[in-house]
Symmetry: C2
Subunit: 338 residues, 2 copies
Amino acid sequence: MHIYDLPTPAVVIDVAALHKNIATMADIHPGRRLRPHVKAHKCTGLAAEQQGVGHRSFTCATPREILGMIAAEVGDDFLLANETLDPLRLAALAAAQDDALITVAIDSEETLMAADKAGIRNVMIDVNVGLPRCGCPLSMAGRLADAARVRGINVRGVMGYEGHLMMVTDRDEKRTRVQQAMALLAEAHEDVGGDIVSAGGTGTYDMFSGTTVNEVQAGSYALMDSHYGQLDSPFVQAMWVVGTVISVQEKWSVADVGLKSLSLDHGDPKIEKHSVWFCSDEHTTFSPLEGEPRPKINDRVFVTPSHIDPTMAMHDIAYVANQFGEIIAEWPIDLRGW
Amino acid sequence: MHIYDLPTPAVVIDVAALHKNIATMADIHPGRRLRPHVKAHKCTGLAAEQQGVGHRSFTCATPREILGMIAAEVGDDFLLANETLDPLRLAALAAAQDDALITVAIDSEETLMAADKAGIRNVMIDVNVGLPRCGCPLSMAGRLADAARVRGINVRGVMGYEGHLMMVTDRDEKRTRVQQAMALLAEAHEDVGGDIVSAGGTGTYDMFSGTTVNEVQAGSYALMDSHYGQLDSPFVQAMWVVGTVISVQEKWSVADVGLKSLSLDHGDPKIEKHSVWFCSDEHTTFSPLEGEPRPKINDRVFVTPSHIDPTMAMHDIAYVANQFGEIIAEWPIDLRGW
């Protein structure tokens, strides 16, 4: 099967670009130095490629992602880098603890108690390092670790996500601010103990020299999107939502790729050599840049999403293509849901 | 089961509000005057409620939606109000033509030929009435209808979607502009023939008096969203993505509802009596308005999405609740995909 035979809209991954991205990151953060975030692709087939270059510890955003990774036998050490109070989901994680090392992030007494009640054996203290989201204040981290240990729970260390710094474009400014955020995390680590200091993302993966961070949680680097593509980085676009041109008018054309097949939260998608006018539920209206030919009905278009994570979560299957456009694998996007 | 027992994030429908919206629209456009658009909910359980008040013809955006409606035995007359060139999907529709009346929109020679080749028996001419998307120019409509009839295909009439006018807030201006758009459609109808003149949406459902439009394609009215909620209309919010407060800090709180459980393409979601700061993949950061109490960990929050259609498409199940918050039904969101 060829890209041109696929039912559209379809997620297509360029296997060479994917392998390049995975190899580039593994050179910089080999083995357990990288804890790839599976929320970016929700696909055990892709995670297996990350394991193939030596990563065996993974970051997950949902219990479902951890349980799906264990079922697919990819990875052996999973961090739920997100708070949950759901007793059934925590119990399901606890029941899987003989199959893999599972660690749950906590940032409050309540999340600690929920983990304890479910029988979770390992936690990580999630510390706020500047992004207004989850993570306890620095002053609370040590107490929370002590409270966990009193309950017989192992505290593996600290994590802090500096998500507010991902898109700082001046690299010197970014480095300074990441180092300041990581100084907070190091201070929390002194209070908390444990082996792990976990942080980072695709926007900051190369900003940790001189910090105590010993694992990086990047995810988007493998497939990329137009948002992260704005940054100066060695990672290349490796995924597109491929659509079919279904209507051609004098001034615009329409592809069958819309809001239900790509996420617009980071802005409109991009189509090379074309201008995107707007997206509707099932459509992207676009036109060629000056000097470019008008598309023809039934042409394929390669649409680059602005945000990879929620876009992948909209699809059932990722089609993996070689340089000839042949489909060499179909990877179920099997970690969707919560 | 109660709303407070649901795993979150979860789509919850207020059955009384849903029934009120469905009854209100059926009063204005009874029976086949309304062709409810199932793309707004992708849920045969909800479509069955629309059938319950007398609608048996439905609008669909994807072949999958039509085939799912037929499988669920809801409705008897389906319009694919969207162009497709996919031979396999058109063949699947053609194979279902003995089970229901299926009509496919066409706006070009190519879409006509694809429908003909697959054995589609009924088409509708999709005419551009001002929105830069699908729909042929007025000058082409009659020729396309003639070409269909030459091939032995029945032409049921015309459709034109005035999507660019949905959010015009001045009602007099909106009425004038809708009438202008529908004058184009009436002109196309003279050239095309057939019984049906189909148009409209939740933003224009009451703008067709004095036009030749004889069926309205509204969909969002049943559940609503914060975007359509800005308009002066009798329809009330009937759906929320219910989340759990997983983290509470001094200045903000975090719920487990994010970009993977609601669509941001029409703006940030809303939480009553609170200010929404921003959404991440799995989180909404928010804070109470002045004078309102701070949320507590494990509280439930009711998040109103800005755009209902892509939000529903992110979920497996819609939980239907009564006025006591009890879950009285679980409707699979069974029409997802293409």
